[in-house]
Amino acid sequence: MSEALVAAVVTGILLGGLYAVIALGLNLIFGIIRVINFAHGSIMIILMYLGFFLWYLLGIDPYVGMLIVVPVAFGFGYGIQHVLIRPMFKREKSYVVEPLGVLLLMAGFDLVISNSALWAFQARVWYVYGSAFMGSVSLGFLHLTKQRLIVVLVAVLLTAGVYWLLNHTSLGNRIRAVGQNREAAAICGINVHHIYALTFGLGCAVTAVGGCAALPFMPITPFAGMGLALRAFVVVILGGLGSVRGALLAGIIIGVVETVGAHFTNSSIAAIIVFAIFLIIIVSRPKGLLGTIEV
C-alpha cells in the first residue's frame, strides 16, 4: 500500500469515529423507538451552536462546554419525544411499530429548526479556534490531529458506555424490552412512553457529545447537519438496527470507504458509493452487519 492510501485509510478511521458517535445517538432513537429521526442532523447542529456560543460569548472551551450542552440535549430530546411524538404513538394502531407519520413529522421539524438556525445565525460559517488539544501527533509519515483522535476515543468510550448501559443495568433492560415489544413491555409494568422519552433524550445527549468533540475542528453552518445525519442513517442500517457495536464498526467502515473512495475518484462519487452501499444493505441484508432485529 502506498503511503497516500494508508493516510486515506487512517483519515477514514478518524472520520468514521465522528460518524459512529452521531450514528450511536441515532441508533438509540431509530433502533429502540423506531422513529426515523429526520431532524437528527439539525438537532445536532443546534446543539453545536449552543456549544459554539458558550465558547464565543463566555469563553468556555468546547470540551468543558459539554457539561452544559449534554444535559440541555437530554432535556431537548426528552421534550421532543414527550410533546411531539408521543401523541402520534398513542393515536396509531397498537401493532404499528414504525408510524410513517412520525417520519413526516420529523421532516417538518427539521425544516423548522434548520431554517430557524439559518434565520438566526445567517448562512455564515462559524468555527472555534484555539481550544484545548491543538496540534498533531506524528507517526512516521502520518500526521494525526489530536482533536480528531479524541473524537475516535470518545466514540469508543461512548460505545462501551452505551453497551454497558443497555446490557448491564436495569434501565437498559427496560429500554431493550420496550425496543423489542412495546405491548409486552407495557404489560410488564414498564412506563413505555417515559422510556421512549428517556431513550430519545439519551440519543440526543450522545449526539451532543459527538458534536461538542467535533466542534474544535468542524465549522458549523445551518445545513451542515443533513449530510452528517444521512451518513448516520447509512451507518445505522449497515451496522444493524439497535446494535451498539455495529454502529461503531459501520461508522469506521463508512468513513474509510468515503476517504478511500475520494482518494481514487472524487468526493461526490465517494458519497454516491456510500449511498449505493446503503441501498444494497437495505435490500440484501436489512438487519445489517451485526443486527438482531428482524424486519
Binding site: 414504525e98 417520519l103 413529522l105 441501498l279
Partner: protein, 359 residues
C-alpha cells in the same frame, strides 16, 4: 333533435337528483376553470399561478397513488427530475420534439421506479421511504456533480435552458399561457379521474386492503409486493410525465428546481395537507398550498428562511391534528350537503325503509 333530447334527459336526471352532488360540483368547478384564462386574459400572472396549482396538484396526485397502496415515497422529485431532464436534453441537444421525448421520459422514470421498486417493495414500513429518499439523493448527487454522462451534457448543477422557438406547437412551445393552461388542466383532470378509477378497480381494493393490514391482505391471497410495485410504477411514470410538462412550461431546469430534497418534501407536503391515501385530497392540497407558497414568496421575499419554517409548521400541524388532511372534512361536508339539501326526500325514504327493515 337528438341533442336536445339528451340535454332534456340530463336536466331531468338533475331535477330528480339522480346525479350525485359531487359530480355536479366537479362539473361546475371545471366550467369555472375553463373560463379562467379568458376572464384573466390580461393578467397572465394569475393564469400562471393557476397553472402552477395544476402542476403541483398533478404531482401530488401521482405521488398519492403510492400512498393509496400504503407506502410513503420520499424521493419523488427524482422521477420528476428524470422526466424534466430527459425531455429537456432530448430537445435542446438532439432536437427531438417533446411530444416524442415525453415517452422516453416516462420510460426512464419507470425504469428508475423498477430499479428502486423491485428490491425494496418486499420491505415494510419505513425502509421503503428511506430507500426512495436515498435514490433521490443519489440522482441529485449525480446530476449536481457530473458535467457529462457519455456524450450528453447535463451541466453539473448549472441552470439549463430550453431554446425558444416562439409559437411552435410541434415542439410544444407557445407564446401565450392559454395552451399550457388547458394542457395542465387536462392533465390534472385526467390524473384525478385515473386515480379515482384505480381506486374503484380491483387493484384499488387490493391497495386499500394492503394499506389497512398487510398480513390480513396476504392471508387472503393478495400479493402485496406485486400490487405495491404496480402502484409505485404507475406513479413513477405519471410523475415523469409531469416533470416533462414542468420543464416545457418553465423552460429551464436545474437540480435545485426539479431534483432537490425540498421538492420531494413539497410534493409530500401538498399530498399530506390534502389527504394522504385519498383520491381527491392531493389535488385539493395543491389548491391550498400553492397559493400559500406564492403569498409567502411575495410577502416574505426578504426572509428566505421564513417560508420553509412555515411549511414545516404546516406539515407538523397537519400530521399531528389532521392526519387525513382536508379531504376528510371536505368529504364529510359534501355528504352532509347531499343529505340535507340535494336529496332530502330520497333520504327520508331510505330512513323509512331502514325503519321498516328493522321492524
Amino acid at each position: 333533435m337528438k341533442q336536445n333530447r339528451g340535454i332534456e334527459a340530463l336536466g331531468e336526471r338533475l331535477r330528480t337528483r339522480q346525479i350525485p352532488l359531487g359530480w355536479v360540483i366537479i362539473a361546475v368547478v371545471l366550467i369555472l376553470l375553463i373560463i379562467v384564462p379568458f376572464a384573466w386574459k390580461d393578467n397572465s400572472y394569475y393564469v400562471h399561478i393557476v397553472i402552477t396549482i395544476f402542476i403541483w396538484g398533478y404531482m401530488a396526485t401521482a405521488w398519492g397513488l403510492v400512498g393509496q397502496s400504503g407506502q410513503l415515497s420520499f424521493g419523488h422529485a427524482a422521477f420528476m427530475g428524470i422526466g424534466a431532464y430527459t425531455t429537456g436534453i432530448l430537445y435542446s441537444q438532439f432536437g427531438v420534439t417533446p411530444w416524442l421525448g415525453v415517452f422516453v421520459a416516462i420510460g426512464l422514470a419507470t425504469l428508475g421506479g423498477v430499479i428502486i421498486g423491485i428490491p425494496t417493495l418486499r420491505l415494510r414500513g419505513v425502509y421503503f421511504a428511506l430507500a426512495t429518499f436515498a435514490f433521490g439523493f443519489i440522482i441529485l448527487m449525480i446530476v449536481k456533480n457530473a458535467t457529462y454522462i457519455g456524450p450528453v451534457y447535463i451541466g453539473g448543477g448549472a441552470f439549463l435552458t430550453l431554446p425558444r422557438a416562439g409559437q411552435a406547437p410541434a415542439v410544444f412551445q407557445f407564446e401565450s399561457k392559454t395552451p399550457y393552461y388547458f394542457m395542465a388542466l387536462a392533465m390534472l383532470a385526467g390524473i384525478v379521474y385515473l386515480s379515482h378509477w384505480f381506486n374503484r378497480s380491483r387493484m384499488g381494493f387490493y391497495w386499500t386492503a394492503i394499506r389497512g393490514d398487510q398480513d390480513a391482505a396476504e392471508s387472503l391471497g393478495i400479493d402485496a409486493a406485486k400490487y405495491r410495485l404496480r402502484a409505485f410504477l404507475i406513479s413513477c411514470a405519471l410523475t415523469g410525465l409531469g416533470g416533462a410538462f414542468f420543464m416545457q412550461y418553465f423552460r429551464f431546469f436545474s437540480p435545485q428546481k426539479v431534483l432537490d430534497v425540498s421538492q420531494s418534501i413539497q410534493i409530500a407536503l401538498i399530498g399530506i395537507v390534502g389527504g394522504w391515501q385519498s383520491v381527491f385530497g392531493p389535488m385539493i392540497g395543491g389548491f391550498i398550498i400553492v397559493p400559500v407558497a406564492e403569498l409567502l414568496r411575495l410577502n416574505l421575499g426578504a426572509f428566505p428562511a421564513m417560508s420553509p419554517i412555515i411549511y414545516g409548521i404546516i406539515l407538523m400541524l397537519f400530521i399531528l391534528f389532521m392526519p387525513n388532511g382536508v379531504n376528510e372534512p371536505f368529504m364529510r361536508g359534501l355528504n352532509w350537503l347531499e343529505r340535507k339539501y340535494w336529496r332530502p326526500s330520497q333520504n327520508a325514504n331510505n330512513e323509512n325503509n331502514e325503519k321498516v327493515g328493522r321492524q
